[in-house]
Structures are given as structure tokens and as C-alpha cells.
């Protein structure tokens, strides 16, 4: 196989890192080479976050180049739009429809685009929006949005679902295992 590129976008604090870790560990457990990379630091303070997971026989660069992502997972609609050019033609976009105001909007300096969903659909007609927050709440914890999002792309991954479940079990803290597994399943069904 060639290199399978995943881009995960979101807002600092949403759990983009853990979602990336689950995907990377799952690839390793499936016997593939993997590189995972995100930019943190300043971005933790409610800023825009982007993370890359690259899977294949031998992966060189840790960075995904625009126009080459097989999957874009966005935890927030505006961030989906911000990074949508990373998708390759025919690439898959799954995004959480629950919006989070950027500080520029919260302080009245900018307006959140009311037509964000239309803009996404225009740029990527097959984009799939889900209410990850409600699914996470049903699973037992609003913070499990990241596992819902991983579940939502599961069928498109070059990795078996059982492997991903095993990794989720391994990385979850005791009480979180059941919630995270339910969130993963909820995402897969969405």
C-alpha cells in the first residue's frame, strides 16, 4: 500500500492528541510503520490545533501536505473549513457539527460564518457532519468527543476495528474504558 494520510483538526482542549495517539498506536499494533505529529504549545490555549497521522510500510516525513489527506477528521466545523484543502480529491471529511467560538468571535472582533455547513458541502460534497457532543454525552461523558470522531472514520481506516478497540482499552483510564468504547461504537454508527 502507499501512505495513508490522516489529518485531525480541532480546538485546543478537545482531545485531538488522544485521538491521534489511538490511531497511531492502532497502526503500530497492525504491524505498520507510522508517524504522528501535532503542533502544541501556544495552541493549547483554545487555539486551532492540527495533527497528522501517516501510516504505511515506510513513512518518511511526519507532515501531511495539502492535497494528500485520505481522511480529514475535524472536531469543529470552522476548523474543518480551515484545513479542508488538505484533502486529496475524493478524500473523506467527517466533522463534528457542534461549534466553538474562536476568541475573535467571542470578543466581537469577527463573526462566526452562519453558512459554515454550506461552505463545507460546497468544498467537499461527501462531507459527513455528526453531533459528536450528543453521542459522547449518551456514552457517558461529553469529553469523549474524540473517541466518537475516531469511531466515525473507523470503516475507512486500513486497520481492523478490534485493534482500535484494544488500543482504546489500553489508553483509557479505568473508569473511562466503558465510556470510551461506547463513544467509539456511537461514532461508528453515526
Amino acid at each position: 500500500m502507499g501512505i495513508f494520510n490522516i489529518v485531525i483538526a480541532g480546538v485546543g482542549g478537545q482531545g485531538v492528541l488522544l485521538a491521534s495517539k489511538v490511531l497511531a498506536e492502532s497502526a503500530l499494533a497492525s504491524g505498520m510503520d507510522v508517524k504522528q505529529n501535532e503542533v502544541h504549545g501556544m495552541a493549547q490555549r483554545g487555539g486551532s490545533v492540527i495533527s497528522f497521522v501517516r501510516i504505511g510500510e515506510e513513512v518518511f516525513s511526519p507532515v501531511v501536505i495539502p492535497g494528500t489527506a485520505d481522511i480529514l477528521i475535524s472536531f469543529e466545523p470552522l476548523e474543518a473549513l480551515r484545513y479542508i484543502h488538505y484533502l486529496k480529491p475524493g478524500g473523506m471529511l467527517v466533522y463534528n457539527m457542534v461549534t466553538i467560538n474562536p476568541s475573535t468571535v467571542a470578543s466581537g472582533l469577527a463573526i462566526y460564518p452562519a453558512d459554515v455547513e454550506e461552505q463545507i458541502a460546497k468544498a467537499c460534497p461527501d462531507a459527513h457532519g455528526i453531533d459528536a457532543l450528543s453521542i459522547a454525552r449518551e456514552a457517558g461523558n461529553a469529553k469523549a468527543v474524540n473517541m466518537v470522531m475516531v469511531g466515525a472514520v473507523m470503516k475507512k481506516l486500513p486497520i481492523n476495528a478490534e485493534v482500535v478497540e484494544g488500543v482504546v482499552r489500553a489508553v483509557s483510564k479505568d473508569k473511562g474504558v466503558d465510556v470510551n468504547l461506547r463513544a467509539l461504537k456511537g461514532g461508528t454508527a453515526a
Binding site: 502544541h40 490555549r45 487555539g47 513513512v59 516525513s61 511526519p62 470552522l78 484533502l87 466581537g108 462566526y112
Partner: protein
């Protein structure tokens, strides 16, 4: 066993596996997790130093006492440690010593993007430049061997995409630490001029030996393929080169300094076009051109600023980049901002209102420079807030201006290099207001312990410095406490500090809500009372937003209860009594 770890984690793991004895550093993105991981692994003793100079000097002492030592820092930290480094290159080491420096091309979280390879050349010492997590692991062991073999400190350089990128690593057999003798050797360790002169000659001789070593070491690798294009590269740039041209002939330099001149000459003779791919400065290119070797593609095509990627390399060769749709522009930006509940929000609301000149510093509070606060007017480097405010005040005095500058600095930055500035202000009859935001942690790098937090890197109880007492001992008579959550009190305290002649220090002791997981009941808005005036939005809090108003009506403010931390700054900004804490607090 194979595991996926970051470059920082790999360095920490290898430090424990390679006979490491002592680690010290100062937090700084992207280097921070290295020492944190050393602490978590629990194999080697490690500690946070108040700044990078102290970290390197402590590592020097550890090496002299016979223990393999590691000092970690970000690129700008080496500027602070440079005084030690540029004489450490003279003394050499007893046990191996590695200075790990993490560069930040693209400035993801830094105030500049200086290229640390300049320091290796400047100090005439070897530098290792790993291109992935496995090499980051391997080069720690190589680094200690080189350090001891050549009696030299070794720099291990990463960049953000090495430090933070995760890749597969295979661990090697563990080498047990062997602590060598602690020997008195005056001509080696006392750099009086007469001894220094001898050492300078030795440095030049050592560099020649290292150049010879560079010709044959496994660290520099030839990968011969298509001979029409030959690329010399190192670090993460190598990975981008492989991504763009997997079949090109490559001379991969694991040792970024000194360069293997013969090997480069031989390689250049074998290939058609010679290309040099390096991030930031033209360090290789300038040296290779000085060897009289023709470079066909270099910094004329590869930018001096920012990160390199496969597309930039393809374009430099003259090939078409990957086609992609145009990025959607005109989207609202999402810059980082103070966390909901952060005490900095109250302070900067008032500084913004009072329109004073704020001499700033490095930390979360630097975000006070961004709109809508726009209340920070200079930020240079660690500690500069206080010293620069002092210089401003002196010129204001000379010019007959009455405005008093305000310096804002955090606890960790104050310990790092604010204390000396404040000492100067006291000593030289200064006239600035200094606000120390003592949130009991090193916040921007993710919440590390410091001399004010009461804990050390290993999680053990530590001496906690009393900042107010320290300030008084430095010679500042006017020291008062501040509670930045109370806007009226904060305004009054700042005004008093500005009106009182001479140096004046305010200390806010509210802890970091993120580090100490503080959460208060959320704020609620009464839509009947909200006038839609937006005064509260000046708090720049992401928990606030406007509702979808009916046509012809002003949108009203709403609070997102999932995000609100209940600090109450917005409540105090509201002139219509429309906001209140849900637990009845005033």
C-alpha cells in the same frame, strides 16, 4: 520492543539507557517533555533549573564529578546558557555531557527562529542532528561516546518536528551508569588566561580530529540512487527529501558539525546536480561553497524562513508541487487566548482600560498583546519586562515625561531572569510599576514546577520562595498584593502603584486554573437585562458569545456553560447587572 514515542521521549529513554546520571533543564517548547519524561521514567536523577545557564552549569558540575550529564532547553535558552557553553568548550568534560537544544523553525511557539547549528560552529564543538525518534534515541548514546572520546561537550539538536513527532523506536541494551572519579585539575577546569590560551589551541586541534572522525562515522550516511540529483541534508529535512525524492542520491549528515569535507567532495563529484536542503540558515551551504564545491540548488530556492516540506523541495528542483484546492481564506482566526477562568484576564482588562505602556515578558500573559486587550507593547526575551521598563522610565525622566511604565512578568520568568532586572531598578533609583503574576507554575509550557510552586520535578516537596520577601530584600520598599479577579481593587492598586514615586511591585498569587484544576460555578446571563452593549466581550473569553437575534434586534450575550470557569470578570464588566454567578457570589 517497538513503541511509538516522540523525539523528546526517545532522548529521555536513551538517557536512562545510556548511563545517564544527572539531568537539568528549563522548560521551553518544544524541548519541555524531554526532562519531564526523564522524571516519569524514574531511572535518572533530574531537576528543573531556574534558567538554562544554571541548568548547563549544573550539568558541567555533574560531568566534572564523573556523572554523564544532560542539559535540555529550547533554542533561545542556549542564548542564556551561552556564557557557560563558550568556555565549557575550552575545559571539555570528565564524564560525557550533552546539551540538547530544540529549535522551532516556523515559530510554532517561540519569539524567534534562530538556528542552533550556528552555536556548534561558534563553539567549535560537535553537533548531532537526528531525523526521527529512533535516531534521537541512538544519538544520545553516540553523543556520550563522542563527548568522552574527544573531551568535548556535544550538542544534540532537534526541531519541533523531531521533538514532537512520534515514530517507532526500538530500545537498545541498557548501559549501567559508571560514575568516574572527581579529580582536581586546575589547568583543565580553571580558565584563567594562561590556561585558556592553551585550551584554545587544543580546541582547534580537537576540531581537526573531529573533522577526521566525521569522514568515517556511521552518523554520516551515503544513500546512492539516481545520480542525476544529489542532495546533502540533515535532521527532519532528510525526511522531507525522502518524501519528495525517494530515489535520489543523498548524503545524510547525522553529524551537523563539523562537516566531512572529503566525503562531500566525493559525493559532489558523483552526482549531476548538487542540492543542499537545510531548514533556516545556509550553514552547510556556506561551508560547502567555501570548500570551492559548486552548489546547484540551495538557499536561492529553499527559504531561509520557516519549515521545509516535500512540496518546497519539489518546487526548488523545478518539479510541480502536489495539486490541492485553494485554502478557504476570510475565516475568523482562532488564536490562543487566556483560558476561561485565568487571572490574567482581569489584569489585562484593567491595563487595557488604563492605556498604560506595558513592558511585557514571555509566558501566557504575552497573549495580552492580542486584540481586544492589546495591552502589551514590548516583549523581547525572558526577564526583559523589568529591565526594559527601567530603561523606559529613565528616558521618560530625562525627557520630563510623567508616565510610568508597567512591567508584567510571571513567577517562573521572574525566577529565570527578572530578579536581576529588579535589583538594577532598586539600585539605580528606578521608577516603574512591576506586576508579578505568581500563578505557582510555569504555565505556557504546560504547567511545570518552579522555585515558587513548592514541588520539584520529581514531585517532592521543595522550598518555596516568598516573592514579596525577596522583592523587599532586593531593595524595593513598596510591595503590595493584588487580586486580579477583582477589577475595582486591581484598578485601584495599579493607580496607586503609578502615582507612588519610585519602584512599586504588585504580586498576584492566584494559582493557574489549568494546572491546579480550579473550577467555579458558571456565570448566567439574564436576557431581560442584557442590553447587547458587548462591554463584557472585552474580557476576550471564549465562553462568551452572541445569540441569534431576531431581525432588527441587538444580539444578546450568552455564556457557554461547558466552557465557562466562573471567574466573574465578565460580571464586573457588565453595566446592566445582567450577569451573575450561579452560586450567588457577588
Amino acid at each position: 520492543m517497538k513503541k511509538i514515542i516522540s523525539g523528546n521521549e526517545a532522548i529521555a529513554l536513551s538517557f536512562g539507557d545510556s548511563g545517564g546520571v544527572f539531568g537539568s533543564g528549563y522548560p521551553g517548547t518544544p524541548s519541555t517533555e524531554t526532562l519531564e519524561e526523564v522524571a516519569r521514567l524514574g531511572v535518572v536523577y533530574c531537576e528543573w533549573a531556574p534558567n538554562e545557564k544554571v541548568a548547563l552549569e549544573s550539568a558541567i558540575g555533574a560531568s566534572i564529578a564523573g556523572g554523564r550529564a544532560l542539559a535540555t532547553m529550547k533554542h533561545v535558552g542556549v542564548n542564556v546558557a551561552a556564557d557557560a557553553l563558550l568556555t565549557l568548550n575550552h575545559t571539555g568534560v570528565n564524564a560525557g555531557l550533552i546539551l540538547m537544544v530544540a529549535d522551532d523553525p516556523g515559530m510554532h511557539s517561540s519569539q524567534n527562529e534562530q538556528d542552533s547549528r550556528n552555536y556548534a560552529k561558534f563553539a567549535k564543538i560537535p553537533m548531532l542532528d537526528p531525523s526521527n525518534s529512533q535516531e534521537a534515541y541512538d544519538y544520545v548514546r553516540d553523543g556520550f561516546e563522542i563527548s568522552e572520546q574527544f573531551d568535548t561537550p556535544v550538542m544534540l539538536r532537534t526541531t519541533t518536528r523531531i521533538s514532537h513527532a512520534k515514530g517507532v523506536v526500538e530500545q537498545k541494551e541498557k548501559i549501567e551508569p559508571k560514575i568516574g572519579p572527581w579529580v582536581k585539575d586546575v589547568p583543565k577546569y580553571v580558565m584563567l588566561p594562561n590556561y585558556g590560551k592553551i585550551k584554545h589551541v587544543e580546541i582547534e586541534a580537537r576540531l581537526l580530529k573531529l573533522q577526521e572522525f566525521a569522514e568515517n562515522t556511521h552518523l554520516n550516511r551515503l544513500e546512492m540512487g539516481d545520480m542525476s540529483l544529489g542532495i546533502i541534508t540533515s535532521g527532519v529535512a532528510y525526511q522531507h527529501v525522502k518524501e519528495a525524492y525517494p530515489n535520489a542520491s543523498i548524503l545524510k549528515l547525522g553529524l551537523a558539525h563539523p562537516l566531512p569535507e572529503n566525503k562531500i567532495r566525493e559525493f559532489a563529484g558523483l552526482v549531476g546536480r548538487l542540492m543542499i536542503v537545510e531548514e533556516l540558515d545556509a550553514i552547510f551551504e556556506e561551508q560547502i561553497r567555501a570548500m570551492g564545491i559548486r552548489v546547484d540548488i540551495g538557499k536561492d530556492k529553499i527559504p531561509l524562513c520557516g519549515e521545509v516540506n516535500a512540496d518546497i523541495i519539489r518546487a526548488a528542483v523545478g518539479d510541480a508541487p502536489v495539486e490541492s484546492m485553494a485554502p478557504i481564506t476570510a475565516l475568523p482566526q482562532r488564536p490562543p487566548i487566556f483560558c476561561p477562568g485565568c487571572a490574567h484576564r482581569g489584569l489585562f482588562s484593567i491595563l487595557s482600560k488604563l492605556k498604560v505602556f506595558v513592558s511585557g515578558d514571555i509566558g501566557c500573559y504575552t497573549l495580552g498583546a492580542l486584540p481586544p486587550m492589546s495591552a502589551m507593547h514590548s516583549t523581547i526575551c525572558m526577564g526583559a519586562s523589568i529591565s526594559a521598563a527601567h530603561g523606559m522610565a529613565k528616558v521618560n525622566e530625562i525627557a520630563g515625561r510623567t508616565d510610568k511604565p508597567v512591567a508584567v512578568i510571571g513567577d517562573s520568568t521572574f525566577f529565570h531572569s527578572g530578579i536581576t532586572g529588579l535589583l538594577s531598578m532598586a539600585y539605580n533609583k528606578g521608577n516603574a510599576l512591576v506586576i508579578i503574576m505568581d500563578n505557582r507554575t510555569t504555565g505556557m509550557t504546560g504547567g511545570q514546577e518552579n522555585p515558587g510552586s513548592g514541588l520539584d520535578l520529581l514531585g517532592e516537596t521543595a522550598r518555596q520562595v516568598d516573592i514579596a520577601a525577596l522583592v523587599k530584600v532586593l531593595g524595593i520598599d513598596n510591595v503590595a498584593e493584588l487580586n486580579a479577579y477583582n477589577l475595582a481593587e486591581t484598578e485601584a492598586a495599579i493607580k496607586k502603584g503609578l502615582e507612588t514615586p519610585g519602584p512599586y511591585v504588585l504580586v498576584d498569587k492566584n494559582p493557574c486554573i489549568l494546572r491546579y484544576r480550579i473550577k467555579q460555578p458558571v456565570i448566567a446571563v439574564d436576557p431581560e437585562k442584557c442590553s447587547g452593549c458587548r462591554a463584557c466581550l472585552k474580557a476576550a473569553c471564549v465562553a462568551l458569545g452572541l445569540d441569534a437575534a431576531a431581525a432588527g434586534e441587538k444580539p444578546k450575550v450568552q455564556v457557554d456553560p461547558n466552557i465557562c470557569n466562573g471567574c466573574g470578570v465578565c460580571v464586573q464588566l457588565c453595566k446592566f447587572d445582567a450577569m451573575s454567578a450561579t452560586d450567588g457570589r457577588q
